[in-house]
Symmetry: C2
Subunit: 355 residues, 2 copies
Amino acid sequence: MARVRKTVTIRDVAEDAGVSLQTVSRVVNGGPNVRPQVRDKVRASIEKLGYVPSLAAQRMSGSRSYIILAINDRERTLEDWRERRGTDWVDQMLLGGILTCSQHGYRMMVELVDTHSDHVERELGAALSALQPDGVILTPPHSENRLITDLLAERRIPFARIGSDAPGPGIPLTMGDSGAAHLATTHLAGLGHTRIAMIAGPSQYSLSGWRIEGWKRALAEAGLPYEGLLEVGDFGYESGTRAARALLDRNPDLTAIIASSDQMALAALEVARERGLDVPRDLSLISFDNTPIVRFTQPPLTAIDQPIAETVSRAVEQLIARESKGEGDSVIEVAAALVERASTAPARVLAADRV
Amino acid sequence: MARVRKTVTIRDVAEDAGVSLQTVSRVVNGGPNVRPQVRDKVRASIEKLGYVPSLAAQRMSGSRSYIILAINDRERTLEDWRERRGTDWVDQMLLGGILTCSQHGYRMMVELVDTHSDHVERELGAALSALQPDGVILTPPHSENRLITDLLAERRIPFARIGSDAPGPGIPLTMGDSGAAHLATTHLAGLGHTRIAMIAGPSQYSLSGWRIEGWKRALAEAGLPYEGLLEVGDFGYESGTRAARALLDRNPDLTAIIASSDQMALAALEVARERGLDVPRDLSLISFDNTPIVRFTQPPLTAIDQPIAETVSRAVEQLIARESKGEGDSVIEVAAALVERASTAPARVLAADRV
DNA sequence: GCGCATCTTGAGAGCGTTCTCAAGACTTGT
DNA sequence: ACAAGTCTTGAGAACGCTCTCAAGATGCGC
């Protein structure tokens, strides 16, 4: 009885509206030369039959694929998930990306690629061939991987590099790391802190350098020193522990730390606790990322909110807009914000008891 | 000079290998009747040219689309992300799904659908028409939404219902909620607790009922009461606060709480703190979900780990395997595990001082 | 060694869309 | 009112693949 509902094609619409197949196509794609009267008739038929163009067929006919591919680091993602579970990059990327894509009639797909593998080109190449995306979004640490950017450039696929401001092909977007570090540092200086340390990320991430730069700039503006106040971690918890201990050992008068990831900030919080330092009374703490974790620690952490979703969203818009337009664009910077919570407080004026 | 690299098609391979187009197709799809010698020759050409079939073309030619669509709740996801940021469902789904999909040559796409909207059918219908996925994975609370399951059944698209054990079309998968609650309860009883409360989830989620059932069953087996020990929340923090307060008010001798979400457990932890109860000395706490948060609280929470990634992975396998096979399958249950951390301890034998 | 079944291969159509190009219907300027 | 446009519409090819079906090659039993 109830026959399997046949897929509604453009042909059905054309027939129903009494026009040619091509005219329907024009209406669907907002083509220019269609009489309003015809347009309405076609639209009515589309509505009535519930017609939706097949992505596959659209792609086949040589036009766009309406797919944006987002590349994430498999190794880091998987490891984080299984061991440390300290990422919500993927979540945020998806939310920012999917919504913006769907607003423009596009779809987002996620591909996990292992940077350190020597199959990168193969893996990515296969994905590109299979999907033929209209655009690709690169996230750190892929954003400046020459193997990847060269491959994309060679294939003439527009792409966005998040967390990269280098020249070259691809649209560069940054999340205002320098400004964010500057903001955090200035905030602490404004609270009266004079010894403000930074636990930075690994140097292969450009953003690590930007954050250090912003921090130093703010310190200089405030007339504060930075000697002995920098440690480098790898974003992970363990490295945060090591860095925080080293900083406190070296600087007995330290009253504030900026950590380049939530994980490292949590480690610093624990180190403070093990040394009997109260946060924020004895030590102020600001972290980067603002993942869900930091709202529920004791105390909740003041953090720099990385606008990942917003940035991905912007990247999608750029990719869709410039479809094969020229390169050499200026860097797009999405500003990060400081979310104040309870881990920052004025420096104790009478800190003499600790020195 | 460097011409735009033309896409390698099946025709190029056929030509290079000196066989017909059809033969290449057979080799690619593991077709049965090809001489080993020819097969090898074709494989060599594929390798040499770096040929990868176009998903779109495959789909067009009436075969599979090699796409699995995962449906998530937009409202909950977005709200969680912006306000509470307490979810990592999407992360885990993706990780479990993408990996398993790619192992079978499939791709996973994520669609965010708003259950409460009355456009559900429209939204979902459009996505199905555009993507024509080979399978769909439904997550709570969509898994038992009749509008959605009916739509999928009508279109003859195989789908999996995660967190549903109801009969009807679609492959039902559960994450062992009853068993998990039983496990948690038994664990606490084994530590000597005699008043074990539960903060359940909302009743429109089937899994809420299953957890209550497992809890009651374990209590009955241990000869323990459950009267007055049940409160219902909505998975969110606020509701956890209310529930924990109510439980502690009503039961001065309460020594253990099982919360149906990490958020609610965090709330209970805070309530304990505000009442001067030490966790785990005075109150043991077990949560459900095991999101990243609970490793970094004070103390870290003992939790039931929901095997989301594993379950999605199983769902993908089932969908790919049974491609249009019959229905009426038995429920697939992926067991959840208890991760012991520092929020559970033996009940104090001399609890008389509190009573 | 012949007829029949089976294995291997290829030719051609078709999937749903957009592209190119041409034809007909209207304008407009003179 | 006529030529030269400009709008509007449609016909047909093309995209890359798999499906169906038929033809040739090979094997088997008697």
